[in-house]
């Protein structure tokens, strides 16, 4: 308490005139300070902490956790200096949780009397809740967040009814508390705005072109003969013979020196756009009893332009079949088809023994290959037609005809556009752009912008383009406009739509917001159903899992080629698809959140099934597969995607996997390592396992308290290698760098409470006695993503309630989402 008083006074000293006097007066009278007295400066001065809290800390905690010792990097005196600071809240939560679970004070030290402990917890809890609620009431739990780059892109696409990818022009968003939507970590800078302006210009230019010029129809049907490599008018000189005239196809062989390496010149496209691609393909010499995996990439596929874009995977059989993809391609790009299964043996093709000009008979020698009989490629406008774009940009105004004389002529026909018509269109556009009704007065300067352009002789095009440029640079487009307290219907519509669709509200949602009906629980829930059942919800699945499970980091490291030669692009894509399908299915069928930890099914394609040792699937594509114990799979935590992401390409670290598991799945939050903590030096020479190295690390008391929680799930996952393959021995390299078997894996662990588990199955069983933990943690992440701030201490009860009410559905993920959307966490700022 002694530390506290001067601080309050010094805080008060920072307040302005009248408020300051008032506060001083109240403080003098011993009143707790009323929240409404302060708008922002004084958050730190409102609810007062009761004296028993600092007294307890002084007696039991600050001997180790003070400014001098800072054990575990924790200095509690800074907390006492500013007990109400929002920045300190998460540290208070750690303190609360450690005392609650009786981890602190450590067992070796003097233990507080149970009654002291309880009253400390009660008072700290009440205080923290008071601080949170105070903040929520005055300024909101969340700051207004801005659109993330993905949301910005999608918003532009929907507003302008165009489908061009725009992400590349926008700087990456930082992740805070795991998500790019979190307002307090979002930054704005002149550079950010300048990139946005460039992207807006790019989008507007394309949109106006598309609205005015009729869509170009472009389609090619290519036979196998047209797909062959033609060089100087002759067939196949450059890379030897190709194609099998008897079969009527071209073959891309699985050899190191491919003669025909799958590059199909004739598929070159004339312009940036979306293309529907239909390939008729079959497998030559596929591995016994299997389909053959192949990849399709678009790109220039020459050594001077190595960039390439994933189009899709093919699972070919000996009988020809059609494979269809819709893909964005840039002008001048073409398709390339290759066998893509690096678990298959691959050889060097030799020269033909008799004819040195030719390659040996690959077919007869049993080499695998992917054969293409024909390709159909057609430019498509999958989501928005040119008419949609026209309506979005011009509404009721008549757009200029195509190929009109250059803008600027004083007597252009558009000069006749009346100011009122112009105003109506700008207003309609602004309503959509700002996601709420806008008054004429509010957009006056934007209408003026267009009107003055028109008056100066510019075309309607140019004038509207300038105005839209302005509206799209507006903070009302960039930020979600939310006022403290219960959100209005439009703010709810936006939250809902960005949450479940990753984009702005559509016309139906806007209508329900206009009428206010959206705030009725029944209507709100109907909308949740509608949004979740719509294909746009795939965007939610992708954006959310990219961040929550870190799927977006799949490319952060490449597996060591010597240790993991079987890793390839088809496998990588199948890994991501497994997890996304799995999560989408939990939502679709309202399956239990405990499926994240263990499950009797998953979603596999051929290549991934092979990786997991699951027998070949009867049907091609991604399929739901029932799991048997010998597959060693079950739950997202055994998906190869997350196992790859939590490893570094060469070695696995139980620490990294453990931290991932606690943060992402079980919800036990541990603080970051104290400053200056040396990390473990990974050693792949095979003499020591990671466990032996960690044991040393854990023998230190200061490390042990957190590592007792972190390491067990990490150890339990040690049977999975860096690409999520099952292992019973580590892979290692010998002195010559050649792969060899390393030491055996030991996946046992001693849990925090002293209980021993022998393997992952036992670890799961233990965790699944508390399925509500998993559900609570999922809701925590969903709430962070959906609202733009992590739930506060005061929201804990609310989350528990959401989860409790989903118990009837065995914690179904859809029920959890519905519960969240109805809760004050979602409906209040």
């Amino acid at each position: 308490m002694t530390r506290f008083k001067p601080t309050v006074l010094s805080l008060i000293a920072k307040l302005d005139g009248p408020i300051r006097l008032w506060v001083l007066a109240l403080h003098g009278l011993g009143w707790s300070m009323p929240a409404f007295a302060f708008q922002q400066t004084a958050i730190a001065a409102s609810p007062r902490i009761l004296p028993s809290v600092p007294a307890f800390l002084e007696e039991h905690c600050t001997k180790c956790h003070d400014t001098d010792s800072q054990k575990g990097g924790l200095d509690l005196t800074t907390l006492l200096d500013a007990p109400n600071s929002p920045e300190n809240l998460h540290r208070w939560e750690y303190v609360f949780d450690r005392v609650l679970s009786a981890e602190m004070p450590p067992p070796k030290k003097k233990q507080p009397a149970e009654s002291d402990r309880q009253s400390f917890l009660r008072e700290l809890r009440e205080h923290l809740i008071a601080v949170c609620l105070d903040q929520k009431k005055t300024v909101g739990r969340v700051q207004s967040r801005r659109l993330t780059r993905a949301e910005f892109e999608r918003s532009l696409q929907e507003l302008l009814a165009i489908q061009i990818p725009l992400l590349d022009g926008l700087p990456e968003d930082p992740l805070t508390d795991g998500f790019s939507t979190v307002a307090k970590g979002q930054q704005i800078s002149p550079n950010q705005l300048s990139s946005q302006l460039n992207v807006i210009d790019e989008a507007l230019t394309l949109a106006f072109q598309q609205a005015i010029n009729p869509p170009v129809h472009w389609k090619k049907n290519l036979s196998w003969e047209e797909l062959r490599r033609h060089v100087n008018g002759s067939v196949g000189q450059a890379r030897g013979p190709e194609g099998r005239p008897t079969q009527g196809d071209v073959v891309s062989w699985n050899t190191f020196n491919n003669e025909f390496y799958g590059r199909m010149d004739a598929t070159k496209v004339p312009a940036d756009g979306w293309y529907r691609i239909r390939l008729r393909a079959l497998a030559v010499n596929p591995p016994r009893g299997e389909r053959l995996s192949a990849s399709v990439f678009s790109g220039k596929h020459v050594s001077t332009a190595p960039e390439r874009r994933w189009v899709g995977a093919i699972e070919a059989e000996e009988q020809p079949a059609d494979f269809e993809f819709t893909s964005w391609m840039k002008a001048g790009e073409l398709l390339r088809v290759q066998v893509c299964d690096d678990s298959l043996p691959k050889k060097r093709a030799q020269r033909h023994p008799q004819n040195r000009e030719a390659i040996e008979d690959l077919d007869g020698l049993g080499h695998a290959g992917i054969a293409v009989q024909s390709v159909e490629i057609e430019r498509v406008y999958p989501e928005f037609s040119a008419a949609d774009t026209r309506t979005a940009l011009f509404g009721e105004l008549s757009p200029p005809a195509a190929k009109q004389p250059p803008a600027g002529g004083g007597n252009s026909p558009q000069a006749a556009t009346s100011k009122r018509d112009l105003e109506t269109q700008v207003l309609a556009f602004a309503n959509r752009a700002f996601r709420r009704p806008v008054s004429k007065a509010e957009i006056e300067s934007f209408v003026d912008l267009a009107a003055s352009k028109l008056a100066a002789g510019a075309s309607l095009n140019t004038a509207l383009q300038s105005t839209y440029r302005g509206l799209l640079m507006s903070p009302r487009f960039l930020y979600l406009e939310e006022a403290p307290g219960a959100l209005d219907a439009h703010a709810v519509a936006s939250r809902l739509s960005f949450f479940l669709w990753g984009g702005p509200p559509d016309a139906s949602l806007r209508r329900l917001a206009d009428s206010g009906k959206l705030l009725e629980t029944k209507v709100l829930l109907e909308q949740v159903q509608r949004l979740l059942d719509h294909p746009n919800a795939n965007r939610f699945v992708q954006l959310f899992t990219n961040q929550w499970l870190k799927l977006g980091e799949i490319d952060a490291t490449n597996p060591d080629e010597k240790l993991y030669p079987e890793f390839d692009d088809v496998l990588k894509t199948a890994m991501l698809e497994e997890t996304r399908h799995f999560f989408a299915d939990l939502i679709r069928r309202n399956r239990s959140a405990s499926n994240l930890v263990d499950s009797n099914h998953t979603f596999l394609s051929h290549r991934l099934a092979k990786h997991y040792g699951v027998p070949p699937l009867p049907e091609p594509g991604v399929r739901e597969v029932p799991l048997r114990p010998e597959f060693h799979r079950g739950g997202v935590i055994t998906h190869a995607s997350v196992l790859k992401i939590t490893a570094n390409g060469t070695t696995t670290s139980p620490v990294l996997r453990g931290v991932w598991m606690l943060e992402r799945i079980t919800g036990q939050r541990v603080p970051p390592p104290p400053p200056g903590t040396p990390a473990i030096e990974p050693d792949i020479r095979g003499a020591k396992t990671i466990r032996e190295q960690l044991d040393k690390h854990r023998s230190q008391e200061s490390c042990a308290s957190c590592h007792a929680k972190i390491d067990p799930p990490g150890f339990a996952l040690e049977n999975y290698d860096v690409i999520g393959g099952w292992r019973e021995k580590y892979r290692a390299v010998n002195e010559k760098g050649v792969r060899k078997d390393g030491l055996p894996v030991d996946a046992s662990a001693v849990l925090h409470d002293g209980q021993q588990v022998r393997n992952l199955q036992e670890w799961k069983k233990n965790l699944l006695t508390r399925p509500e933990w998993i559900a609570q943690n999922l809701v925590h992440h969903l709430a962070t993503y959906a609202t733009g701030a992590a739930p506060s201490f005061a929201d804990r009860e609310c989350i528990e309630a959401i989860v409790a009410s989903a118990k009837v559905s065995d914690y179904g993920v859809r029920s959890l989402i519905e519960g969240l959307v109805q809760s004050p966490i979602f409906l209040h700022k």
Binding site: V139, T304, R476, Y479, P678, P682
Partner: protein
């Protein structure tokens, strides 16, 4: 003078007030006359901050002996002829910065990142310099990268500046010619951009009233950014009227192999030298990524990132050394390139402070202590190994204070730096 530590969270408002009171920020207006004079003299001072994401294998970098009579280590061998032009600094790091790879954002900001769950970065050294002294040139600063999406440059509000990673685009920005028609369009676009920003700035103000006090910071930042962008568009407009400098060099040839980091570095270094030589900018950062590409160098068979996790495997360390030595040689060539340019009585190297560093002292274990630092040129007495305590590191930001003072800026602290770096002496200006 008020002192404060960055370990505690101080509201931005308070921070700005305190800073303004205690360090007496130089204001642009008051700086301008003095600067124009310096520019007229034709020898402005510059700064180049080069960093990589995976560091340098310490035993191959740091000499055993301190002082001027140290023996060149393996990585310093390629710089043998430049020995008197650089200082190697050991035993330094950023206090309060840890967390492995993600500490890369702190390289030039020295802002502690391990004090809580939420981290807001500070201004980077180059951006502070550019804010105070950047208005003289077409580009206030250049933020560049090789094989990285991130940069080391951060605005005063802690927002990252997206890097330019294409040498060809950089060349076009620096020296590319525009047709008169394109030039008119550029100017028109910039002018209209300013009008729009004006309207938008007003909107931010009125929105501030509707959303409540908690969002004031957000909209303040937006408003400030709008104003700054307006100013920079206005400056761009002025520059758009002036012809770009003519250089004999041709646009860099596209590099076929994306894994050819050294090829990209060499192209970037050449353009950086040209940018400095033509006084297109005075402040540059270059950050080299740590992706897992397999560099096309003799003796290298594995991906760069994997090699950095060598786990003491001698075959990996040997390959890693090839990659790192090549980076060091490319950096040495850049120094020589600057040394060849004469500006009045000085070489361009003597007018340019060039730092090479990394956020990682040991990439294999993600250790952020004992950062590798080689510091060249810029008008300091070099030719020595400044050895600080490897167990109890000296703050690297003290070197940043030295650099700010070398530019004539009156800062006596920067982030965790509280004094100039002991042992590093300025050569008095003639």
């Amino acid at each position: 003078m008020a002192t404060f530590t960055f370990q505690k969270h101080i509201p931005r408002r308070t921070f700005l007030q305190t800073t303004a009171l205690s360090v007496a920020l130089p204001f642009l207006e008051s700086m301008c006359p003095a600067l124009s004079k310096a520019a007229q003299l034709g020898s402005p001072r510059r700064f180049v901050g080069v960093s990589n994401e995976l560091g340098f294998y310490a035993p191959h970098l740091f000499p055993e002996e301190a002082g001027s009579k140290y023996e060149l280590t393996r990585y310093l061998q390629p710089l043998a002829d430049l020995r008197e032009q650089f200082t190697v600094v050991s035993g330094v790091s950023h206090p309060g910065v840890s967390r492995g790879h993600v500490s890369d954002v702190c390289i030039l900001t020295a802002t502690p990142n391990n004090s809580g769950s939420y981290f807001r970065n500070g201004v980077s050294l180059d951006q502070l310099m550019a804010r105070d002294l950047g208005q003289e040139t077409r580009f206030r600063s250049l933020t560049l990268s090789v094989a990285a999406d991130m940069s080391t440059s951060f605005t005063p509000l802690g927002a990252m500046i997206a890097p330019e990673s294409s040498p060809a685009r950089l060349f076009a920005r620096l020296f590319g010619k525009e047709t008169p028609q394109a030039q008119r369009e550029t100017i028109e676009r910039l002018r209209e951009g300013r009008t729009i920003l004006d309207v938008v700035g007003e909107e931010a103000k009125s929105m501030q009233k509707r959303v409540g006090a908690g969002d004031r910071d957000k909209l303040d930042a937006f408003f400030t950014s709008v104003r700054e962008l307006e100013r920079s568009l206005s400056a761009d407009e002025q520059w758009a009227l002036k012809p770009k400098p003519q250089v004999g060099a041709e646009a860099p040839k596209p590099i076929v192999n994306r894994a050819d980091f050294i090829g990209f570095e060499n192209q970037m270094y050449e353009l950086m030298a040209l940018a400095l030589e033509t006084d297109s900018t005075r402040f540059i950062t270059l950050h080299i990524g740590g992706g897992n590409a397999k560099l096309p160098l003799e003796g290298v068979e594995e991906g760069y990132h994997n090699l950095s996790h060598h786990g003491q495997d001698p075959t990996k360390v040997a390959q890693l050394a090839v990659v790192e030595q090549a980076q060091m040689s490319a950096w040495g060539d850049f120094l020589r390139r600057l040394q060849r340019v004469q500006e009045g009585t000085h070489t361009l190297l003597e007018q340019t402070m060039v730092m090479l560093t990394s956020n990682l002292g040991n990439a294999s274990s993600h250790d952020t202590r004992n950062m590798p630092v080689v510091f060249a040129g810029g008008g300091f007495r070099h030719g020595q190994h400044l050895a600080f305590d490897r167990n109890n590191n000296h703050p690297l930001a003290n070197l940043y204070v030295s650099m700010l003072q070398r530019l004539g800026l009156p800062y006596d602290r920067f982030a965790t730096g509280t004094s100039p770096l002991p042992g590093l002496e300025m050569i008095p200006s003639a």
